[in-house]
């Protein structure tokens, strides 16, 4: 399969449906695995990396799940193409920095991807729409079980799966959910939430993982520890916390619509006005305004039919996607900002203005009454 075919279709996690879809954009589970007694990628020499890559790539491509797949050594991808894969969450930023001896394999639906020779020999992930970490784990767990018959994974009876960084040892699992939390941000409650989530040993990060800024009111919540609990226990703990965050966000939305309808109306109206009429827009501004529109759709202020086109804009307006779509290798940031504004105007052209009379007002539950 060619890169252009991957680009042509958005991943299933974007277009699909799933539980709590309005607030939970996607669920992702990643497993780290290594080949016994082979130096980890960061310590291996080029020839050793190439040897492991050959071994792993063959095994991964042979998976029934990868029957229709895209498989590419990283050195044959341009920096722009790598960035497109990062924006789709198919590879990490760290992986995009790699070249000879690293590769990526992803299925056509873009629900499974395997990074070969990232920090570990294998980083395999499954991603789905909405809150369904259990299902996503089952998907990637099956792949892992299939691979262990052809690859000799480094496993210790006491420490579990052995990884390059001691922070991943044990299950080697990182489960995460991408949450859209505009009302918690608008009502200044987000820091309180982040702090309490951190306190119970879970991590909250921005759009593209560690060290990235929270843009578009999008936050990734994931487990921090990997040793001493089963995969099911970790996912159960994460699920319970995410369900609570969802409830807080819903309450914050209810409170905003009940007590500050003018503020809400104003924010949604301004976001719509700017997106429909701007001629230059940075990626950060676009994400932040699109987030308000997404909230408007959740609250019935815009018709439901516009949900998918707006969700698509979250991805399409990212720098590499813009540039790839324009078929240009080099583009200044001013040119990108102009193009971004044009694409947004064109896409929102069919969308009616906000109808605040349709605003869904729900009653906040007792737990969040202030």
């Amino acid at each position: 399969m060619k890169f252009s075919r991957i680009i042509a279709n958005s991943g299933e996690w974007l277009s699909g449906d799933g539980p709590n879809r309005q607030i939970v954009v996607s669920s992702r589970v990643r497993l780290a695995r290594n080949i016994r007694n082979k130096p980890f990628p960061g310590w291996a020499k080029k020839a050793e990396r190439l040897e492991v890559m050959g071994l792993v790539k063959t095994a991964v491509e042979a998976l029934p799940e990868m029957e229709e797949s895209y498989s590419e050594p990283l050195e044959s991808l341009s920096p722009l193409e790598k960035q497109v894969l990062v924006e789709r969450h198919l590879i990490s930023r760290e992986h995009a920095a790699k070249a000879v001896g690293s590769a990526v394999v992803t299925n056509a639906r873009q629900s499974l991807s395997v990074m070969i020779n990232e920090e570990d020999h294998l980083r395999m992930q499954a991603i789905c729409c909405g809150l369904q970490l259990g299902n996503v784990f089952d998907m990637i767990n099956r792949v892992d079980s299939e691979l262990e018959s052809s690859l000799d994974f480094a496993f210790d009876s006491h420490l579990g799966y052995l990884t390059a960084c001691p922070s991943n040892v044990g299950t080697g699992m990182r489960a995460s959910a991408m949450l859209h939390l505009p009302a918690l941000v608008m009502s200044d409650q987000i820091n309180k939430i982040i702090n309490s989530v951190n306190k119970i040993g879970l991590a909250v990060r921005g759009l593209h993982g560690e060290g990235t800024e929270a843009m578009g009111n999008l936050f990734q919540v994931s487990n921090q520890t990997t040793l001493g609990e089963t995969e099911e226990e970790i996912i159960g703990r994460l699920n319970r916390v995410i369900e609570q965050i969802i409830e807080h966000e819903q309450n914050a939305r209810a409170l905003l619509s009940q007590r500050k309808p003018v503020t809400l109306h104003d924010q949604i109206g301004r976001a719509y006005g700017i997106l429909c009429h701007a001629f230059s827009m940075s990626s950060k501004e676009a994400l932040n305004l699109l987030s308000v529109i997404k909230l408007g759709i959740d609250l019935d202020v815009f018709p439901e039919a516009h949900r998918f086109p707006v969700d698509e804009l979250f991805i399409e307006t990212q720098p590499a996607h813009l540039q790839k779509g324009a078929q240009v290798q080099k583009m200044s940031s001013e040119e990108r900002d102009t193009l971004r504004a044009t694409i947004i105007r064109a896409k929102l052209n069919q969308m009616p203005g906000p109808d605040m009379s349709r605003l869904k007002i729900s009653v906040p539950t007792a737990t969040s009454k202030q």
């Binding site: 290594n34 016994r36 007694n37 082979k38 130096p39 980890f40 960061g42 310590w43 920090e119 767990n141 892992d144 079980s145 262990e148 018959s149 994974f153 480094a154 496993f155 210790d156 009876s157 006491h158 420490l159 579990g160 799966y161 052995l162 390059a164 960084c165 001691p166 922070s167 040892v169 044990g170 299950t171 699992m173 040993g201 520890t225 990997t226 040793l227 001493g228 609990e229 089963t230 995969e231």
Partner: protein
């Protein structure tokens, strides 16, 4: 003054032991815990038992990784490094995770090897008991079972 603090330094791969009294060591800042890099503490320098083994010279026989490399990268060299540097890694994992032992998924292959080992052991125990009790017919039966199991490909 009496030497109360023993400082070990690795200079050009050679270990040098310096004996300092408390006031001298304070002057040189050696007993300031923040003066020691985390990785040193974690991988054993500062632990008297480890100093004798000169951990800086310990190399993973599989990949050639040393403690100094860990200090630099924060990552290990290969899966075997976990065995080589176990003394230092164990306390670090304790601080980092919910527990110290893996309770999650086990590869099927590993599971089978373990089950086979456990079965062999119980057969051998029974064999010893049978021999001791002079139950030779039973012993012969057990011996055949052990031979069969040992002949199975892993």
């Amino acid at each position: 003054m009496e030497a109360t603090v023993f400082l070990t330094q690795i200079v050009d791969g050679k270990m040098q032991k310096v004996n300092l009294c408390e006031s001298c060591s304070k002057e040189k800042g050696v007993n300031d815990p923040t003066g020691f890099a985390l990785a040193d503490l974690l991988l054993g320098i500062g632990d008297s038992q480890q100093i004798e083994k000169n951990p800086a010279s310990v190399k993973c026989p599989v990949c050639g990784f040393t403690q100094a490399d860990f200090k630099k990268t924060g990552r290990l060299g290969c899966s075997h490094c976990y065995t080589v540097f176990d003394d230092g890694i164990a306390p670090m994992l304790k601080n980092m995770h919910k527990g110290t032992a893996h309770t999650g998924k086990t590869p099927a292959k590993f599971h089978m090897t373990r089950q086979r080992g456990e079965k062999l052991k119980s057969l051998q125990d029974n064999l010893s008991k049978a021999v001791a009790a002079e139950e030779f017919e039973k012993a012969a039966e057990l011996r055949d079972q052990i031979r069969l199991l040992e002949a199975e490909p892993v």
